[in-house]
Amino acid sequence: MPAEPPIESPESLAHAYDLLSSGDAWRPIAGGTDLMVQITGELGPPPERVLDLWRLDELRGIAHESDALVLGALTTYTDLRRSDVCQEHLPALVAAAATIGAAQIQNRGTIGGNIVNASPAGDTLPVLLATDAEIVLGSVSGERTVAAADFWTGYRQTARRPDELVVRVRIPVSPGRQVRFRKVGTRRAQAISKIVIALSWRPDAGVWRDVRVALGSIAATPVRARETERVLEGAAAGSESADRGAATIAQEIHPIDDVRSTADYRRVVTARVLHRLLREAGGW
């Protein structure tokens, strides 16, 4: 039986904000699929106190508002998979959710938790980076928005202040924008990714525009492969640009050897997977 730190379960967001601004150290918990493992596994001292977000219906909901998908922080992966709105406007995010854990984890894990846990291997995070998502933080002082590109600041570090909660994420979507996702894990379910990539672009008469290439599991945070994006930006979709993109990404990233995989594998296979996504997108 693991440690059982004290927990408080506010019934309203306002109450949650009050507790967070009290000066005590609170560790928020959403579905618990990350936090509970950290406590059970004794991966560091248990939190002093835990703030239970589960009753905050204000943090739930999936909406499509003009040009954006808006997901409450407590949207679970199952919610994403069952959402017609998400399937229609951002199937890549649904695809990402389907690769996380298995049914039990998907029923409880939340997008807000994925964002705040800030694992470099968080599977939805490359999709958020590749779609220029905006993360909305709330506190007693009100709400503020941080671009996904600015949110993950270091290994398991975020721009969230201790008195803030991630309230929702706003993802621009448009009919013209294409997004693709691929995860490579050791097995087909219940696997932390070795390689995870999201690719987004706007096709424009056979040319890649507004290219985003986002990666997890190859740095301390999820990252954009900006040199690779520059190489693809404005290029004609085809084998030549795909070859250049693959060569560039292999140079640009600096993955490591770890328990799951090797640096060389990650480097080479990231390039191969990018090349495959470009090939499939380009239809050649």
């Binding site: 039986m1 693991p2 440690a3 059982e4 730190p5 004290p6 927990i7 408080e8 379960s9 918990i29 579905g31 618990g32 699929t33 509970m36 493992v37 406590i39 059970t40 596994g41 835990v50 239970d52 589960w54 199952t78 854990g101 298995a102 049914a103 039990q104 984890i105 029923n107 409880r108 087909r188 379910a189 219940q190």
Partner: protein, 154 residues
Amino acid sequence: MTYRFTVNGADVALDVPGMRRLLDALREDLGLTGTKEGCGEGECGACSVLIDGEVVDSCLVPVSQVDGTSVMTVEGLASDAGMDAIQEAFLVHGGAQCGICTPGMLMAARAYIDQGGAPVDEDIREAIAGNLCRCTGYTKIIDAIAAAAAAQPV
């Protein structure tokens, strides 16, 4: 704090720390030892239960979050009439060997079938992908779930 919920249809009021794992509350505070701990990290699914009909790993759920919900464990599957259709199918098809994964596996199967799951191999595999079994190779588990799903009235 006292947390109130139902377990297998019966009302429960537990005055325990809110961060107690639902798994420990079930096994130790309520004496329902049918739900098992295989890893404590949400990887093996041996601790699977249903919360409001959805399958979850009870080792990852703090009791504070089941307040107001209905929880179902393996002990809730059978009735006075005997084992339910999924349990019978497991018995007949050889879906249980050592039995330690079985309660969690049954709960995942129960959620799948209750949600209209079909006797389709790949879909069943996905539904139980969060339940590790080391004994069976999954073959007879899938046979059992497929049989139970096929026998469901449409």
